[in-house]
């Protein structure tokens, strides 16, 4: 991997996401049981955990798509669960969300998918400005030649990258990636990992990356948070987590390597 995260772009003075005592349950099912997390500016943090452990729920709460039952979620100084309407929209312009299944708009081609968030949020852009922004974002993900294609005509990896490009077009400060490499072959995974680092450097983003892919976590993230039974077992550098004695953590790592 030629561009490893650069330590000095992380600014530990400034917190962009702060979560305190976060709880969330669906009916009887307790998904999150007291989450605490701090994301510094410029940092990439990986959230690891097995399927169904509540990773997607966690970032949906950060993006304000779900309401927490209890606890505080502060993003860029704003308490997300208290925001509504215009204030929420204003905050969301600074957050990029890459969905687990890309969530591209089926009825629109790649160009329209990218132009849509831009033209809906910034009025009176000229056609030229939109074209330029779309090309810039497609260039960042390396898929300029797919501009006319429909989502159905793209491969899974390409859809992921277009999904990332669509969030980049609004120049977010925070990127939330929901399993960016899930279901991709090793080469596409490596490409996505490189892209995540490129985004971090080119757009100066801070990111939460949800994954159960250890290579992705190790290569793209500065710290790793291990989600077990609705809590973070530990938040720290890859090697710190890796050397832990906890059985569930060990299982997670062993099975990952056997794959």
């Amino acid at each position: 991997m030629k561009n490893k995260p650069i330590e000095h772009i992380i600014n530990r003075e400034e917190t962009v996401i702060a979560i305190h005592g976060l709880y969330k349950s669906f009916g009887e099912l307790n998904v999150l049981n007291g989450i605490d997390l701090r994301l510094y500016r410029g940092e990439n943090i990986a959230v690891l955990g097995k399927s169904g452990s509540g990773k997607s729920v966690l970032i949906k709460i950060i993006a304000g798509l779900l309401k927490p039952d209890q606890g505080e979620v502060i993003v860029l100084g704003k308490q997300v669960d208290q925001l509504q309407g215009k204030e929420m929209d204003a905050l969301r312009l600074h957050i990029g969300f890459s969905f687990q299944n890309s969530a591209l708009y089926d009825s629109m081609n790649v160009y329209q998918n990218l132009a849509f968030p831009l033209t809906m949020n910034i009025k009176n852009l000229s056609r030229k400005q939109v074209d330029y922004a779309v090309e810039e974002a497609l260039d960042a993900v390396g898929l300029k030649d797919k501009i006319k294609e429909l989502p159905a005509e793209l491969s899974g990896g390409q859809r992921k990258r277009i999904g990332i490009a669509r969030t980049l077009i609004l120049k977010p400060e925070i990127m939330l990636y929901d399993e960016p490499t899930a279901g991709l072959d090793p080469i596409s995974c490596a490409e996505i990992n490189a892209l995540i680092i490129e985004v971090q450097q080119r757009y100066k983003t801070s990111s939460v990356i949800i994954t159960h892919d250890l290579t992705c976590a190790k290569n793209t993230c500065d710290r790793i948070a291990m989600l077990i039974d609705g809590k973070f077992f530990k938040v720290g550098k890859f090697d710190e987590i890796f050397s832990s004695d906890n059985k569930q953590v060990k299982d997670f790592f062993t099975y990952n390597f056997i794959q």
Partner: protein
């Protein structure tokens, strides 16, 4: 029982939200116009065919009973009343419920289960306004126009039958057909169609917007949307006819 009440409450909130958001800018004119064309294009051919056939069949079936009273000359005016007052709006509404309502709920439902609606939300786009308001307005605007068109085609079908039997001219046929139709008839038909259009749009959107459980949920939502909107259309028909009759003879 509780879940029924909850469903009603959710539906009520959904309608309320529609009225709140429909009148607050920004308005997505282009999307509304697009959707109007969608509604029109989707149902036009079927409405033309059905309207024409209904006109022919209805005329053919009514003729013998009028003949027994020696009142065949009343045929155009009877057909006019039947088609403009009842059949045109109703046939249009049922066709649109099947064609447009189902496609709205299937489209929104699949957008919901593939997280496209959430994707709009996180890019600070109000999905309710962009998707729901524009579609409901589109059906509310288009269905009355289509109903008028359907009535016109229905009368044409009827004329086809009348002409083949009696060789009346089109002008005379239309004059006779409209001789007993009052302003109240046209007005109540239009109001009826507006209500049907709104029903089709809001039910389709509501079912789609709250679809869950993956692709199976989308199928279920679509099915429910068609059944529920057809049921409501008949219910509204009965209520509106009562009200109009009450006004007519008051």
């Amino acid at each position: 029982m509780d879940s029924y009440l909850e469903g009603y409450y959710k539906g009520y909130r959904f309608c309320l939200r529609f009225f709140k958001e429909a009148f607050i800018p920004p308005f997505h004119w282009r999307e509304i116009i697009n959707q109007c064309f969608e509604v029109g294009l989707k149902s036009l051919s079927l409405i033309t065919l059905t309207g024409f056939i209904v006109g022919i069949v209805f005329t053919k079936q009514s003729r013998p009973s009028l003949e027994t009273f020696g009142a065949v000359s009343w045929l155009p005016s009877l057909i006019g009343i039947a088609i403009v007052r009842a059949l045109g709006p109703l046939v249009t509404a049922l066709i649109c419920a099947g064609k447009v309502g189902s496609s709205i709920s299937a489209e929104l439902g699949s957008m919901k289960v593939t997280e496209q609606i959430e994707a709009m939300e996180v890019s600070a786009i109000n999905p309710f306004k962009y998707l729901v308001v524009s579609r409901v307005l589109a059906t509310t605007i288009s269905v009355p126009i289509l109903a008028l068109y359907c009535s016109f085609i229905g009368l044409l079908g009827s004329y086809y039958n009348v002409y083949s039997e009696e060789a009346t001219s089109l002008a005379i046929f239309y004059k006779n057909a409209f001789s007993n139709i009052s302003f109240l008839d046209i007005f109540s038909s239009s109001v009826k169609s507006i209500v049907y259009g709104f029903t089709i749009g809001i039910i389709g959107c509501y079912k789609g917007y709250y679809a869950s459980q993956g692709t199976r949920g989308v199928g279920k939502a679509t099915n429910q949307a068609v059944v529920l909107s057809m049921f409501l259309i008949f219910f509204e028909e009965v209520v509106i006819v009562q009200i109009v009759n009450w006004i007519r003879y008051f």
